[in-house]
Symmetry: C2
Subunit: 213 residues, 2 copies
């Protein structure tokens, strides 16, 4: 499978490298190719690098790992024609760092970034997932408590969610909880504030929650 991964931060690189490790073809998408290309070469990233538009055209499945504040613009640069009909795994969080730490959310409660993306690109199949943990756990859940914890999935398209659940299982996920349509993305996005506080108290990002019944 060919993947386009938008974003050259830690999340984007982690996702892209893991997909490559699983023998998929990957092109990272970046805003400034000249700048990010050199940076990525210096990190020995074993994947292709292109513009958002090139990455979107390349990928059969797409990952949004850009900063939440820049996600809509990045997707506009990717180009609607390159997005239409495809599945977008949306990992972004609507974090606003402009007011100091801890960050606040620039959209929440009655809306979410996942919904904003879905409303802006009606023919993109947005599946919100993986935004509730640190990058290392996203792609290697067995690294914490042998994978005995949960990841959430939200999206309107059942077959798109099935495809994403397949990718999550490739990553090693055992416990995958489908919360419902894309409006349920408000929950995992609004979980960030407690996640950030737990991170502060636990002194590590290497944790996740398990739903106990």
């Amino acid at each position: 499978m060919k993947y386009g991964v938008f974003g050259t931060g830690m999340v984007g690189l982690t996702i892209a490298n893991r997909l490559a490790e699983l023998d998929h073809e990957v092109m990272i998408g970046t805003r400034e190719l000249s700048k990010s290309g050199d940076k990525l070469k210096s990190k020995n990233v074993a994947v292709k690098v292109g513009t958002f538009s090139e990455s979107a055209a390349f990928g059969e499945v797409l990952f949004n790992a850009t900063n939440g504040a820049g996600s809509l613009e990045a997707l506009k640069l990717a180009g609607e024609a390159n997005l239409n009909g495809k599945v977008l795994v949306d990992i972004s969080n609507p974090l606003d760092f402009s007011k100091g730490m801890p960050p606040t959310l620039f959209v929440s409660d009655t809306d979410s970034l996942g919904e904003q993306i879905q409303r802006t690109f009606l023919n993109l199949k947005v599946v919100k997932t993986l935004n509730t943990m640190t990058a290392a756990i996203m792609v290697n859940p067995r690294g914490v408590a042998d994978g005995d914890h949960h990841v959430f999935v939200s999206g309107n398209d059942a077959s798109a969610k099935d495809m994403v659940i397949g990718i999550l299982k490739e990553f090693g996920w055992i416990h995958i909880l489908d919360l419902g349509d894309i409006t349920t993305a408000r929950g995992p996005e609004m979980y960030l504030p407690i996640w950030l506080r737990m991170w502060g108290v636990l002194g590590t990002g290497m944790f996740n929650v398990k739903v106990m019944k």
Copy 2:
């Protein structure tokens, strides 16, 4: 120990009955004594019933189990003189049901109901806890996964938190995570949207999260 429990809904009754079961003296506080008194008698509640003010005066430790939207008013009716210097275990959630289901939050992100209460009553020692689960689990955590899941605690006063942690242990809590000062209450309050969605998907409120490291 003498407890004042504000609120005659399911949470208030569950907390009050559990405290009585643990051989504490309890007075439930209500806005309309004539109305709620009869209602509570018909439910065979084995605790005293009084006004918010009488309950606050009676309790050495207080529980806020009122609806979030009415919490500040209930505490004002309780009377600052009856609150001053005491510990308030704040279980309330800032749920706004006026816009339909699922409820939204009337305060979040840059503030929380726990902080609003603390700012309004400077000499009250507010400890936010237990708001992230259904009432039956609050007072009997062993009822789910033999208690192998977490409760969070937020508050400015270390000795008040120690006292509340003692009460949580009486209830049967094993895993208690202190998130920090009262501003950290934003996290557990903003956890409600994902909790509500999990409740919908799991078809039961009898679940809670465990932090896995």
